[in-house]
Structures are given as C-alpha cells and as structure tokens.
C-alpha cells in the first residue's frame, strides 16, 4: 500500500460523489418529466448539498454527532474498495465481505445517530430501516453467496471481469435470471426507492431517521446518501450486470441502471414495512433459493448459459 493508493482512493471518492450527484440531478429531471413538468436544474443536487452544509447545525448529544461521522467514515471507506471498470484503489481488497461489512458500519452509524436524536419518528424510522435491511439482505445475500460459490471468488472485480467477453449474455443477470431479478429488486430496497421506502416515508413518519437532521448534519447525510447509492448501484452493477470494460461503458451502464430504478419507482406507491418484509420473503427469497439450488445442484449459469 502506497500513498498512491490513497490518492486513487481519494479520486474515486471524489469522482463517485460528483458522478452520482449529477446522475441524481439528472434523474430528478426524469422524474419531473413523468410528472408532466420540467423539474429542477441538473446541478440542483449539488446546490442542495452545499446549501445544507452551509447552514448552522444543532446537536442532540454526542451520539448524534458521532453516528454521522461514523457513518460517513464507514461509507467513505467502502467507496474506496469499490472497483470501477477494473480500476481499484486497493487491488485485491474488493472483497464482497469487506464491502458489505463496511456498508453495515455506515448503516449502523446512521441508525445510532438517528436514535441518538431522541425523536420518536426517528426511532420508528430506524427500526423500519433495519427491518427493511433484513428483508432485502437475506435474499440478496443468498444470491451473492450463490455467485461466490459459482465463481469461486469473493472479489467483486473478478466477478465483474468474468462476465465480460460475451456481451450481454455474459451478465450474471442473464446467466442467472432469477438471481438477477432478486438483485434488481433488492437494489430498490437498498436505495430506499419506492416501493421500499417506508423507512423515510414523509407522509407517515415525517422522513423517519432524517427527522432531526438539519444544516451540516443533513449535508453530510446527503453526501453519505450519494456515496451509499454509488456503492449499492456499483455492487449490483459489478456483480450482476457485468461491471464495465471501460470507465465510459461503466458510467453509461450505471446511469441506465439507476435511471431504470428511478423511473420504475416513480410509478410505485410504497409498501408498508410489514408488507415489504412479506414481499421480500415471499418472492425474492424463493427466487434466491431456487437460483441457489439451480446453481449448486444443476450448475446452470456457472460458466455459460446451460
């Protein structure tokens, strides 16, 4: 590990933030179009974040502050390990386990911080968020374990690399269609997109965990959210949609995947949290198990289709 690794890491961090924020801004315009309007400027998301950072903040105790730092730290650390089109800050450390572990730190930091605010809406939101996480994580993890089993590696970049070469047919989403569906649905849950956004539902629990954040805390939460989105979309992209052979291809695929998620979520109402759990355990979990069984016992989709 050299200084260069950290410089690369920093570059990835910065690029990820700028890229994702731009994509978010773009998607706000896409959303607007579905809603028959023009929508904000493409860089609105940047303005929002910087505005929030500029505002004054109030703290609700050190857990509240520390949780934010911890979450941001965890997430930033995770971003560094995400391989982007073969470009890695720390080669050979892009292990799925590391990523999901670090991601969890971020999640827990948020949960801790939100709970530290003492607002009951936040508590409900956190409990919903954790329930939600539990709901999508089990099917997703089964599928990812299936992948690891099939490819014999836990390295994200290697899994991504193995899908390349056969065009679209090489993608895991095609090779293991049920697993792809599970991953795609789980992505909604991970991103907190409708229909699985009950933990931030404004009309029900007043934005849930976010309820007490204002000013700089909120700014950090926004940055965190952008980075987390980047991690989650990248993970699914790398694992199931073939990553990218070059930065450009990667960026395009990324944008398409994210926009697809967004436009689907715009015509979806949200599930109640119990319905979301039921849904995940009824459809994706079954799919995931079937996919696992198919891969393990039939070996379909491991090397090529059939």
């Amino acid at each position: 590990m050299t200084v260069m690794n950290f410089v690369y890491g920093f570059i990835i961090l910065l690029a990820a933030f700028i890229f994702q924020t731009t994509i978010t801004g773009f998607n706000r315009k896409v959303t607007a179009r579905i809603q028959k309007r023009y929508g904000p400027r493409w860089y609105q998301q940047f303005l929002d974040i910087f505005k929030a950072l500029r505002k004054s903040s109030i703290t609700h105790g050190w857990i509240f502050d520390f949780g934010v730092i911890m979450a941001l730290g965890g997430i930033m650390a995770t971003v560094i390990f995400i391989p982007v089109a073969g470009f890695e800050a720390f080669p050979n450390m892009d292990n799925v386990y590391i990523i999901s572990y670090l991601l969890a730190i971020g999640m827990l930091g948020m949960a801790m911080s939100a709970a530290g605010s003492g607002n009951p809406w936040a508590s409900i939101g956190v409990s919903r968020a954790l329930t939600n996480m539990l709901a999508y994580d089990i099917p997703l993890m089964i599928v990812i374990f299936t992948l690891i089993f099939a490819f014999d590696t836990a390295s994200v970049s290697e899994i991504a690399a193995m899908q390349q070469g056969m065009g679209i047919l090489g993608w895991n989403a095609i090779r293991m269609p049920l697993g792809g569906i599970v991953a795609f649905i789980a992505l909604f849950g991970m991103l907190g997109k409708k229909p699985f956004d009950s933990f931030i539902a404004p009309a029900e629990i007043a934005s849930g965990p976010m309820v007490e954040y204002g000013g700089k805390h909120l700014g950090f939460m926004f940055i965190l959210h952008e980075l987390m989105t980047f991690i989650e979309v990248s993970l699914i992209l790398n694992l199931f949609f073939g990553g990218g052979s070059s930065i450009l291809v990667y960026a395009i695929k990324y944008a398409i995947l994210y926009t697809l998620v967004n436009i689907i979520s715009q015509v979806m109402p949200r599930y109640k949290i119990d319905q979301a759990v039921k849904f995940f355990y009824r459809v994706p979990l079954v799919f995931a198990i079937i996919q696992g069984l198919v891969v393990i016992f039939l070996g379909w989709g491991v090397s090529v289709w059939f």
Binding site: V30, R33, I34, K36, R37, Y38, I263, Q266, V267, M268
Partner: protein, 607 residues
C-alpha cells in the same frame, strides 16, 4: 365494485417521459405573469374624476379594509367630498363588494395580482386610475346590472290624480310604512346630503331611524337641526336630493318625503316628548325676534331650547310668515304648519302677533327691552314689474294673492277676486303656486279654467321644478315659456291681454340681466287680470337710517358674520331671506346659526 389489479397498467405513465410537460413556461410566470380572466378580482383602481368620496365602499367592506382619507388637494363641491377610499391590503379579501356597490361606478378592479414587498407600508394605498403600481393595468372585475348592490329606483310616491284641481287637497299622498321602510333601506349613509343641506340636517341618521322603525328617534334627529320639519317635509327645495350620491347613477332618495313620513306618522305623544326633550333649564337672557318666518321660528326654538326667554313679533294675525301665508294649501296644508308652530309654542316661545315692528314698536325699543334681537323679516314685498300697463288696478302681485288665499281657506277672509281669464308672469315656483292657486279659485268660482303663464325662461331652463310644470300643465295651465312680457294691453281702461315676445337671450355677455327679444314672434295672451310673480324683496322700513349706515346691505341683503351677527351692531342678528335669499331651509339654517351666535354673544356679555 372495485377495479381489478393490473401489474403493467401503471407503467403507461412512462409515456409522459417524452411528452411536453403541462407546466406553464417561466416567462408566463415571472416576466409577464399570465393575464387573468376578464372578471378577475385583482388590485383596485379608482377613477378620481368620477369618485365622489361617498364612502359607501367603506361601509360595505366586510373586512374594514377601506377607510376614507381626506385629500387636501381636492375641492369640496356640492355632492362631492374631498375624500377618497384608501385600501389596506392587510385586510382586503378581494370580494369586490365595494365595486358592486360603488355609487359612482368609479371603483374597479384590475387584472393585476402580483404585489410583493418587505415594506408593509406598500400594502396600504389610495387607488387612483393608475392602480397600485402606476401601470394602468387592464380592467378586471367591474360592476354590472346583475351584481348591482344598490337600489337605484325610488319607491314611487302616490299623487292625487288630476281631479285634485277641484279643491285645495294636498297633492302628494305621503308614504305608507312599507314604502317608507323600503325607501329608507336604499340609503347608503354617505352623508353628502348633510354637507349640502343648508341646515346640515342629520339626514342619514333619521333615515336610519325610519329604517329601524324608530320614529321617535327620527323626530329627535330632525329637531336637532330643523324645528320646521312638517313644513320642510313638504315644500323644502331639497338640495339634499340633488346631491344624493345615489343620484349619480339612479334616482336620489326621497329625503323630503321620508321626512314628511316621520312627522306625519309619529304618534303625537312621542313627537312632543322628542321635541321638548331639547328644552333645557332657563338661563338669564331675553331675546326678541322680529318676524315669525322660518328663520325667526328656528331661532326662537333653538334659543328657547338653550333656555332663553324668547318673544316673537309678527305683524299678521297668525305666526309663520311665508309658511302661513306663502305656500299654497295643496302643497302645505294648514294642519302641518300649525303643528310646527304649535310645537314651538309648546316649548315656551312667546308670540306677539298683530304687532308690526317699525310702526307698533320700534327696533330701538326692542333693543332696550331685549339682550339681543334677531331680524328675520323675510322678503315680504313682491318685486314690481315695470312694463307699460303695469300700474293698472287689475295687475296683481303674487304675495298678496297667496296670503289672501290662505286666509280665505282659513275662513278669515273672503275669496280673492279672480277673473275668468288670467295670465301669470313669471316662471319660478312661486309663479306656479300663483297660477295653480288661481286655477283652483277659478274652478270654485266659475267651474272652468283659464290660466296662462308667460316667462322669459323656456322649458329647458325654467327655474321652477319639473314636477310643477308637469302637474301645472296637467291641470290646464297654458304656458308661454320663453316669451317675455312687453306690455299689458289695456283697452278702455280694461286689460285685454298681455303682449309677449319670443326671447332670444336673457343675459348679455357680461352675464347681466338684459333680455333680448325677437319682435317678429309676438302675440297677445288674452286675459283680464295679470298676476306678477317675478321675485320678492325685503321691506326694511323698521330699520332706522343711522342703523342702516352701520350695516352693509348689498342688493337688498344684509351682510352678516358667520352666526348672523351684524358687524357694527352686536346686539342685532339677522337671518333668512334677508341674508341668504328666498329659501325656507336656508332660513331655518340661519335661525339655528343665529341662535348659536346669540348664545355665544350673550354668554360673553354675561361674563
């Protein structure tokens, strides 16, 4: 009952991804906000030329957002106040009731609707034609017939039909209670009439009392400024109705008939109580009043209510002056005159009748006897007309005829000598009074009518009221309006007619009275008796010469101070016709003012 589920139906919403949004373009929101509809109730505008400052908008405003602000730069005219509505956009609810009720049609609403400011003062504004931002926005909401909130039509007054001419029965029947309530409900209480009325009567207040069916209160309001309400309720010149704000777009309120309704319909006990309620404890001071005409009576009443001892001198047998001897019975019945005078008597005013000041008692003696003297002698003489033949014995004047007729109807005198064919010279209300009195006398005496009239003024500029003309012609008067008298044709010492010429103009370039005739258009109105009613003048015989020197008399009128005080003779006050010209209500006002002046004078003297 319920819709079936469909998994893919919602995805149809994606088609809007590529369609044009429904959003209004930025230009239409920010640069030039969309034009509002034609009826839009935006910010106000007010045409100051039309606005009369009546304040009706302020009265209807349910939010108290409109207040009337005095604009010093505006002139006060009859029928206009120098106030303009000011709007408080911290109150306004944009209901446009003010627009619907605007009597002068000046207040409107524009299509403008954007006003933003940090400065609160900018939400208070006095609208003019340019609106809030001085930009002359397009007109939005305006009043129309349907949204009208005023009642522009008078309640019709019932009149006797043309058979009235057979007797001296009162022509106007008076309002019933329903009619009076309906008429009083039309009032918008602007108070412009109060400003116009010479006596400044509390017109809106007593109309409100009628509306509330509180006649006693109404009488109280009347007697605050006018003790001759019975008379004024019948024959007032009603300047107020000319100024009435409703008259701008419709018919004025029948203020005079409403006043008459009050005095005719109030139970006499209530009436008396209201009138006498003003009388206060006696104070030290005696005032003598010369002449019991409107101004004298008015001065007497108010002085009496202030507690002074008051003596009124009247040369004739019955007090009242012009109201007892001038107005014709069919307009001003004896009973109502006597009611007014009786009320004043009840307050304790002492009448000394059949006593002519100047002959029976001199003004000097009055000066000694009283602390102050009020002169309200009126115009008791007819102005003579100097044309050939006017010295004939059958040439009569208006005032003696009217007085004799009143006396005849009272039974205290014989019928005036009326010929079968008469002509009346003059076009004023008095001339019509004369003509119509003659007509009734003729019917009584001869059973038929032959009364002609001749006046310089043609129909369009006739000084008399329109209703006099209409009713008079209906009764059979043959008018030669616009024909001036040239001479009274006398043959064999008998009048045979009046020669008249068509009038080209009455006044010359300097606006002096100098009639010009078209001699080619002339004819003779046949008549054996001529009545002249071309104006009245005062009789100042009681005023001694040294007094005359001290006072200023211009064109027959005495110049006085604000409260009727003669400048160099502080004990002498004057009022009525001799100060302001022939008009009952002016007389009443003068009397009231003088009473106030006398009170001030006596108080300062007693100190």
């Amino acid at each position: 009952m319920n819709e079936r589920k469909s998994f893919f139906a919602p995805v149809k919403a994606w088609k809007y991804l590529l369609k044009k949004p429904v959003t209004i373009k930025k230009e239409d929101v920010f640069d030039n906000p969309r034009e509002a509809s034609d009826q839009y109730r935006g910010f106000h505008q007010n045409d100051w030329d039309k606005c009369i400052g009546c304040g009706t908008c302020a009265s209807i405003c349910p939010t108290n957002a409109i207040s009337m602000v005095e604009i010093a730069s505006l002139k006060i005219e009859d029928g206009k106040k120098n106030e303009r509505p000011a709007l408080d956009y911290g109150r306004c609810s944009f209901c446009a009731l003010c627009v619907d009720i605007c009597v002068s049609d000046s207040l409107k609403m524009t299509k403008e609707y954007v006003h933003l400011s940090k400065d609160i003062d900018s939400f208070y504004f006095i609208p003019d034609i340019n609106g809030i931002h001085n930009t002359q926005e397009k007109q939005g909401y305006v009043r129309d017939e349907t949204s009208e909130l005023l009642d522009l039509e008078r309640v019709k007054m019932a009149h006797e039909d043309v058979s009235r001419k057979n007797s001296f029965i009162e022509i106007v029947k008076g309002y019933s209670m329903e009619m009076a309530l309906a008429e009083s409900a039309r009032c918008v209480e602007c108070g412009i009439c109060t400003a116009t009325c010479p006596a400044h009567m509390n017109i809106p207040e007593y109309i409100r009392s009628i509306y509330e069916n509180d006649l006693k209160g109404a009488v109280t309001h009347l007697y605050k400024t006018n003790p001759l309400s019975n008379v004024c309720g019948r024959i007032c010149t009603h300047l107020c109705e000319g100024a009435c704000s409703l008259a701008v777009r419709g018919e004025a309120i029948s203020i005079r008939w409403l006043k008459r309704y009050i005095v005719d319909n109030t139970p006499i006990e209530d009436y008396e109580e209201a009138v006498l309620s003003f009388v206060t404890e006696p104070v030290n001071g005696k005032v003598g009043i010369v002449g019991s005409g409107p101004s004298g009576l008015s001065a007497a009443y108010y002085l009496r209510t202030l507690g002074y001892e008051v003596d009124v001198y009247e040369k004739r047998a019955i007090p009242g002056g012009v109201i007892s001897y001038g107005g014709p019975e069919y307009r001003l019945p004896e009973a109502s005159v006597q009611k007014d005078i009786g009320m004043i008597k009840k307050t304790g005013v002492n009448f000394i009748t059949n006593t002519k000041v100047g002959t029976d008692i001199t003004l000097e003696q009055l000066k000694e006897k009283y602390d102050a003297v009020f002169l309200g002698i009126g115009f008791s003489l007819s102005r003579p007309l100097n044309i050939p033949g006017s010295d004939h014995k059958n040439v009569e004047y208006a005032i003696p005829l009217l007085a004799e007729t009143r006396d005849y109807l009272r039974g205290s005198s014989k019928m005036p000598d009326v010929h079968e064919k008469v002509v009346v010279i003059g076009g004023g209300n008095v001339a019509f009074d004369v003509a119509r009195t003659l007509l009734r006398l003729q019917i009584e005496k001869y059973g038929k009518v032959n009364v002609a009239m001749a006046s310089l003024e043609n129909r369009d500029i006739l000084p008399a009221d329109l209703e006099e003309l209409e009713e008079g012609e209906e009764e059979g008067i043959i008018g030669s309006f616009g024909y001036g008298p040239e001479e009274i044709v006398v043959e064999n010492n008998k009048i045979v007619g009046l020669k008249v010429n068509k009038v080209i103009s009455i006044f010359d370039e300097d606006k002096r009275f100098n009639p010009k005739y078209d001699k080619t258009d002339s004819y003779v109105i046949e008549a054996t008796q001529v009545y002249i009613s071309t104006g009245q003048m005062p009789e100042y015989d009681m005023i001694t010469d040294d007094m005359k020197e001290k006072m200023e008399i211009v064109r027959g009128k005495i110049i006085t101070g604000e409260y009727g005080q003669v400048e160099n003779l502080p004990w002498l006050f004057a009022g009525g016709d001799i100060v302001r010209g022939p008009d009952i209500i002016n007389g009443v006002a003068n009397g009231h003012d003088s009473a106030y002046g006398i009170d001030l004078y006596l108080q300062s003297k007693n100190k």
